[in-house]
Amino acid sequence: MTGQINRLPSGGIIDRSRGVRFTFDGIVYDGHPGDTLASALLANGVTLTGRSFKYHRPRGILSAGSEEPSALVELRTGARREANTKATMAEVFDGLESTSQNRWPSLRLDLMSVNSLLSPIFVAGFYYKTFMWPAALWEKLYEPAIRRAAGLGRASQSADPDTYEKATAFCDVLVIGGGPAGLTAALNAGRSGARVIVADENFALGGRAIDDAAEIDGKPAAQWVAAAEGELAAMKNVRIMRRTTVFGTYDGGTYGGVERVSDHLATPPAGIPRQRLWHFIAKRSVLAAGATERPIVFGNNDRPGVMLAGAVRTYINRFGVKPGQRAVVFANNDYAASTVTTLKRAGVEVAALVDSRNAPSSYVSGIVGAADVRLISGAVITTVNGGHKIKSVNVRTADGRSIKLDCDLVAMSGGWNPNIQLSTHVGGKPVWDDVICSFVPGTLPPGMVVAGAASGALGLKDALDGGAASGASAAGATGHKPAGISVPSAVNESVAISPLWRVDGCTGKSLVDMQNDVASSDIELSNREGFRSVEHLKRYTTLGMATDQGRTANVNALAIMAELTQKSIPQTGMTLARPPYSPVAIGALAGHHRGKEFKPSRRPPSYTWTKENGGKFNETGLWLRPSLYPKSGESDWLDTVKREVNTVRSSVGICDVSTLGKIDIQGADAALFLDRVYMNGMKTLAVGRCRYGGMMREDGILMDDGTVARLAENHYFLTTTTANAVKASQHLELCHQWLWPELDVQMISATEQWAQYAVAGPNSRALLQKIVDPEFDITDKGFPYLQVGGITVCGGIKARLFRLSFSGERAFEIGVPARYGDSLLRRLVEAGKEFGACVYGTESLGVMRIEKGHISGPELNGTSTARDVGLGGMVSTKKDFIGRVLGDRPGIADPDRPALVGLRPVDRTARLRSGSHFLSRDAKPTAENDEGYMTSVCYSPTVGHWIALGFLKRGPQRMGEIIRAYDPVRGGDTLVEVVSPCFVDAEGEKVRG
């Protein structure tokens, strides 16, 4: 450990009273709270931090913010390992472990850097031109090699152990960015009484005012920022959110944000998430996201030690770290000149200020004069010498001479790009600004104003003024009138600039997109090959598609392409930014929706009893429905099903059918309404009676089936399938509110209000008589098949009784208010003991419905019609109803369409499988011979072999024919006989009692 050799003795806003210890590539280093990993590494003299994507060029730290393209590390280890973490954003904490990426065997000795030697071949798009022969080698050899070489860091191989949360916050004014403009915006909006949220991606507010050690109100910026923060914190209507990146602008004033709640800690404290996703719902927003400094494109401009000038000032001013011992500053603008002063103050030798402009402004002359630094005007750096560390730079002077300057640090500035991304996410078009030589926001999203550097106002005073005015106007637009705008005093830096995008005549690669290794020569190649549109350039070279979102690359690339095509930059184009502004962990976007909590679990009334009695569940949509109730001694599910079915068919069984959709419909026109939504007649249904019904979609496809019970003249109660409960209810509401608003009808879903049990089997009435209060006659005569009525059970509990049967047995459904659901089941079970009753689940329910040939989900599959499922005869021709006309359209009225049949294996011991396709007995297995498919199968305990339902071409006319059930994906090919879909009690005697 060499110690923090580059830590300045004083200055910065780090906590020097405390130390933290961390590792990088296994070596232990010390830093202070308030450091980023980047600042702490620089303090320790570490400049080589990674290898580039394609050529494995050595890379260091370029920036001090979220635009960092180069200094990416694997942070943490094991299940918490995060690939591609920006060292410039990661806060150091005690015990932090970080590792360099994309190198083998080590960062200093990276054998993969052989790629650099092959770089003449590995130019943009080379892979589109080769690896084609022989074709077989692509997947075997070329592609695996490419895949192994590609990628930056390694993601964790284990489930993410941390938790995430989601939250929503409403505000009048969302201030995005807590720099000088953001703070004055928040102060002025907050003072007006508006509800304000100010969010900054950094862990400290102040932005460039701190980074540049500026003066505000005659005080050091840090003091003013602290005071502003104090005032904001004291306002109840203001919420300050640090470590919160607003990453996306969405429609309707919605902004996505991610708060890194615990990323600055070793592990999240108990009960605290790692990150929190925010939905900010803002009436107005102030975009004060600052600006990103542009690199200049020259030879080896990606070497460790070449940094953005603003980042150099940040490391010195904010972190008290000098990033080098002897610097050259290279700029095309005035703003960067202050770097010279900052460096000198930090005790860094400054070899020269290389200014590409011929005539230095008086602003620059003043600064270099005061700092006593050599100014080389009209000059450029052509090449950086040195590998892992800079040794010197070659400078070409105004008169064309080449001079060499020794240095270990280059501070470069090509000007500033406003961070306009959030203004373009919903389609806002930026415009070119000749003054700052960059894009500024043009058309803005509704409700957004832009302030400070993000608007192109790079000077401090302009930022403070613009922020204050924007904050006040945004608050004013939400009905909060500020008393008056108050702005602290400050001085604008000079921001004069003459564009210099790239230096010609360089040796060494001149990088434009450092992370993706896109060089200036790749843009030339792209132009040569016709990939000139900015979208083609981006896609062909991968420029701007790295984790910095192109923030350091895009404008330079556009400018170079503009120069090559002799167009202006705005003519060349601008790729629209899309969310996220900076990359967001997928875990944060998912929140707590993972594992068992991925989706809510709906529990039917029998849930607890089922749990207590060892029942099994299956997932039916969100419902957990009891599926089977195995008993000890039963060797598999089939044993259980056989017992349950036999019990029902011979005595009685109880099944929770509460998950079926239930809709209560009332009104003078209810009968007429139902007549229009069901394909069969409903008007004629008598009070106290039930009827099976089918609903179609308007396109003539069967939508759902269920029962309709008429409880009173103007009162109906419908059931739908479990799967379609929500859809059917929505459909009926549409029919009522939109198609026939004149009808006097009201409806409400009552699915969750009623617990409902089927009590099925010859002894069902006997069992129910022990539950139903004695004054109600439920004999076959007094309460025949398809009867419905209000009753009381268990001594006065209101209930409804339906004489319905899905099983084909004498059966009832009994409904009670949901709160009695659990106890009703217990009473039914108790009452059933003397009959040997069982409780059964969806498996046995399914078996019995297949035995009866009743359709269910597999037959109601969104492509079947009433005719297909054998219900053609039910379809009324006497009335209009949804689906009436299109149900007769040629395609779906084709008599050749596969229609419902029953099937049984010729070899009665053979097993059938749903999903098998039908072929004529001697037909070859080809698509032309495909005649339909099996929809539902079961082993029928009642008939003693496997049976099935299926859709077969002209099926009803082929009774008795032997066909093939062909199931190659499971190796099946079984001869089956076409039979009636009803296997049990075809005459329907049993159901009537």
């Binding site: 690939a83 591609n84 003449p120 071949i121 080379f126 892979y127 589109y128 690896f131 022969w133 074709a135 997947e139 592609e143 895949r147 590609a150 990628g151 930056l152 993601a155 964790s156 191989q157 284990s158 993410d160 996306g248 429609d251 996505g256 040569r528 090959e529 016709g530 896609r539 598609m545 984790t547 899309r578 969310p579 996220p580 990359p583 967001v584 962990a585 997928i586 875990g587 976007l589 929706h593 993972r594 594992g595 068992k596 991925f598 989706k599 299956n618 997932e619 492509t863 749903s914 999903g915 098998s916 396709h917 080809t926 495909d930 498919y933 099996m934 199931d967 190659p968 994906v969 499971r970």
Partner: protein, 387 residues
Amino acid sequence: MPVGDYSIFSVMKEALRGHTGWGPAWRDAEPKPAYDIVIIGGGGHGLATAYYLAKEYKAARIAVVEKGWIGGGNVGRNTTIVRSNYMLPGNIPFYELSMKLWEGLEQDINYNAMVSQRGVLNLYHSDGQRDAFARRGNSMRLHGVDCELLDADAVRKMVPFLDFENARFPVHGGLLQRRGGTVRHDAVAWGYARAADRHGVDIIQNCEVTAFRFENDHVVGIETSRGYIGAGKVGISVAGNSSRVAAMAGMKLPIESHVLQAFVTESIKPFIDGVVTFGAGHFYISQSDKGGLVFGGDLDGYNSYAQRGNMPVVEDVCEGGMALMPRIGRVRLLRSWGRHHGYVDGRQPVHRSHPHQGSLFQWRVVLRRLQGDASGGHVFRASDCTR
């Protein structure tokens, strides 16, 4: 060697002279007064159509007109999956023709589109889903298409990092098409463009169609932002813009334009090999050769031409991702994008003929899927020009 040929030899030769010898991959053509065939839309389908037409009808004068830059529509904004694991009649042969074309595409067009058959695995989570997949798989097999139905153990062997222990909807198995996979989507457009160009097709970018011109109910040309272009036949291949273009010809289509978002993460070392789709949520994923995880999910669900979506679907898709593979949590989403497609009721691609007022004007609407790019072009060619 002519600069047109791409091979390792031409690349190495160019490497020696700084790649200064390469010419444009396709000519930036100026519109001519008339063509035999004009294809509207320079996406995957349009360019493939032009290529196959030009390859077969060498004498035909063919142009592709594109309002922006080629490959900027769905072929440039998708999740790169190719497959033919469909179920309903008509779909399998169509997409299987496409699969077969993909398999020889690169040698045919002399462009590496990185067709990568690393498999497409669709997971199932219930017996009912299994049976529906069996039906689909059997249908594929009847069409001569490869397909396997895997049980949970076989899936676990292939993708051991799924949530098998604590899932709300446990994985019961999957339907695997080993020949399915991914392609480098942009390269498909560029490769077809270059190959079509080499057969003499004019690719005219920044040329927006503003009207059709008819004579005696026959289309005779199109008005464009770059002037009138005569045309013997016109093909429309404009995906989500189909309604807009067809409206210029006085036709109303059974189509709504919807937005489908897609996502890519930061580049990471190999993490997942083939394509996996979640059967209990809206999520499917693969990893590009560059290292980014490419994933998507459900439609935003409302009509849109905006080519962007909203947060609820972003979250829904990521929730599906975390439910299926919880090791994805710390991987960061890098970019999202939206494309607008045409959807018809039932959400099947539309390929149909429509007589324009009794004329011989023919159109095809080919929409939605990258998977169909090759065959869409091929079918269009076959049906339009062999009559």
